[in-house]
């Protein structure tokens, strides 16, 4: 499908979605409103709110805070996830010993940890970044770990026979073969980084989209809540586009549909 056609279809989906929402929130079906506006507001209200934010400019500061937190959480979380994933995959003994602990940590409810983060890191951006990291880290870690273990044994044998040291193996074999694994996890992580930041803000902060959302929720301003979430979503798609760019750049070597015959 052409780029234009695709965009058209995507817009159509959005339109249908918002149309249905407006309909179900305003027109009662069998005397019963499917999406009571008390809980769902209406798209019109939500858009008005976003518009107002944009015009008044109040949103930018909050958006910037959340952006910084998300990007930091994403970068630090995925870097450390990838590094430790690599390390574990190469150090089978270390991996075997720490395996149950990693899994336990992955299961700790981060929300409960918020006070500890606040204690250690204060209420500034770093406690939110920490929350984001705890989500991003595990997604990337498990995938990179598996990706490294999936590297083809033939290629590894060849690489070793070509005289590669452990470090060179990492660079020339493990890293490229774990790349597609890593990128798959990065797509999941982008979302989680933002969730971490927003939830962190939601649990204690002075700015950010999570703060906005919570403030709206406190006064039962559902339009505000949804407006915050929609801004958030837009923003994630923007970051994800970047990740996809990098991915396509790094994975040029793959056979893909685009090639074929002229």
């Amino acid at each position: 499908m052409s780029r234009g056609g695709l965009l058209l279809f995507q817009l159509l989906v959005a339109l249908v979605f918002f149309g249905l929402w407006q309909l179900l929130a305003t027109v009662p079906i069998f005397g019963h409103t499917v999406l009571p506006p008390f809980f769902f507001s209406t798209p019109v209200n939500v858009f008005n709110r976003i518009l107002k934010w944009l015009i008044e400019g109040t949103i930018w500061r909050h958006l910037l805070v959340t952006l910084v937190e998300s990007v930091l959480a994403f970068v630090i979380g995925s870097l450390s996830g990838a590094l430790i994933g690599f390390w574990f995959a190469r150090q089978q003994t270390v991996a075997a010993i720490f395996d149950p602990y990693v899994k336990m940590m992955n299961a700790l409810p981060r929300v409960v940890l918020a006070p500890i983060f606040a204690l250690w890191l204060g209420l500034g951006i770093w406690s939110k970044v920490a929350l984001g990291i705890t989500l991003v880290f595990f997604v990337v870690f498990f995938n990179v770990y598996q990706g490294v273990k999936e590297a083809s044994t033939t290629l590894l044998d060849n690489a070793r026979m070509l005289g590669m040291s452990e470090r060179q193996l990492l660079r020339h074999v493990y890293w490229p073969s774990a790349l597609s694994w890593m990128f798959s996890s990065l797509h999941t992580s982008v979302g989680f980084a933002v969730v971490g930041a927003v939830v962190g803000e939601y649990l204690g902060s002075a700015a950010g989209l999570g703060y906005l959302i919570q403030q709206a929720e406190g006064v039962f301003d559902v339009a505000g809540v949804f407006a915050g979430m929609i801004v958030l979503a837009m923003f994630v798609v923007a970051i994800d586009l970047l990740v996809t760019k990098v991915e396509n750049r790094l994975l040029v070597w793959r056979p893909n549909a685009g090639e074929g015959t002229a």
């Binding site: 606040a118 939601y202 703060y211 039962f220």
Partner: protein
């Protein structure tokens, strides 16, 4: 006898933070078996916050909520009919304090200007409380920096770390900080005189509220419910700390029993003894809202619809 039949003996009760002292009467009613006594089977669902328990009431997943009186006013402006049936706390129990090393600088509420103030959550009643106080000295809400710090450990952590300059919060957070000598209290709405000073009288806090049509459809059920709460209120009025220790689940203060008891002592005056919200109290509650929520300004509020005193009166009559 037929009219005495309980229409809906199985009830779901929502509460935001059951273990806090704010909702102690609920815990007592449950632990002392008053619901059972009244022929009610109450499932208590605990939520992360008061707004969530209200939402569950509106959404229909909870039948009754113990929450802030303020919600009944707010919901009227949103076209949702809910009404309180008994008052549990007559004072909000909120305390405003500044960090010890800042105390010298803060002589009045106006001196909070430009400071970082921790509230339980932005948009919550603690937020409005501080807004109201600073407004008296002519400081606008956006001239201070409001930070949400929660009502638990994170609030304590924030103050101890020096992340915030002042805090508005409830017990046990405030008692903990006070005991540890981290703060100097500026305004205390746990006590009679504190409330007189701040609001000129009562300012109803925790109440039991339900949807109005639920009340009219299930009057007997509501009566029994109120009976149970009323009895708990009465029990609490006479309770000594030792009684509390015996009744409240041990987990509630295993963290620090002494702390819990001093917090209880500090908070005791705030529990309602009559269960009745006075008109003065209603007006105080509304005034607080009017001052800061722009959306409330144009709303027409009929305060009489926010509290249905029939049941408490009957319960009180039955008790005596």
């Amino acid at each position: 006898q037929a009219q005495d039949k309980i229409e809906k003996p199985d009830l779901v009760l929502g509460v935001g933070g059951k273990s806090s002292l704010y909702y102690l009467p609920l815990t007592l009613a449950e632990r002392l078996g008053y619901f059972k006594e009244q022929g009610l089977n109450v499932t208590i669902t605990d939520f992360g916050g008061g707004s969530k328990s209200l939402q569950s009431l509106i959404g229909g997943s909870a039948d009754v909520v113990t929450g802030a009186y303020e919600h009944t006013i707010r919901m009227q402006s949103k076209g949702q009919d809910i009404a309180a049936v008994i008052e549990l706390g007559r004072f909000p129990g909120m305390v405003l304090a500044v960090r010890k090393d800042k105390a010298a600088q803060v002589k009045s509420f106006g001196d909070l200007k430009g400071m970082k103030i921790g509230v339980s959550a932005p948009g919550s009643s603690t937020n409005f409380f501080v807004n109201a106080l600073i407004a008296r000295d002519g400081v606008k809400p956006d001239e201070v920096s409001i930070i949400g710090v929660g009502t638990g450990l994170s609030a304590v952590a924030a103050m101890k770390k020096g992340e915030i300059d002042a805090i508005v919060n409830l017990d046990p957070v405030m008692t903990k900080l006070d005991q540890d000598g981290d703060i100097v209290i500026l305004a205390d709405s746990r006590t009679d005189e504190g409330n007189m000073k701040l609001f000129g009288g009562n300012n109803p806090a925790a109440v039991v509220y339900l949807k109005t049509d639920f009340i009219s459809k299930n009057p007997v059920t509501v009566q029994h419910l109120v009976n149970a709460f009323y009895k708990a209120t009465k029990w609490l009025e006479k309770a000594t700390p030792e009684d509390i220790v015996k009744t409240v689940p041990e987990e509630y203060f295993l963290g620090d029993k002494a702390l819990y008891l001093s917090a209880f002592k500090a908070s005791k005056p705030m529990y309602s003894t009559t269960g009745i919200i006075t008109p003065q109290g209603m007006q105080n509650g509304l005034n607080l809202l009017l001052q800061f929520d722009p959306e409330m300004k144009d709303a027409k509020i009929d305060l009489n619809r926010t509290f249905d005193d029939r049941f408490v009166k009957k319960a009180a009559a039955g008790q005596m």
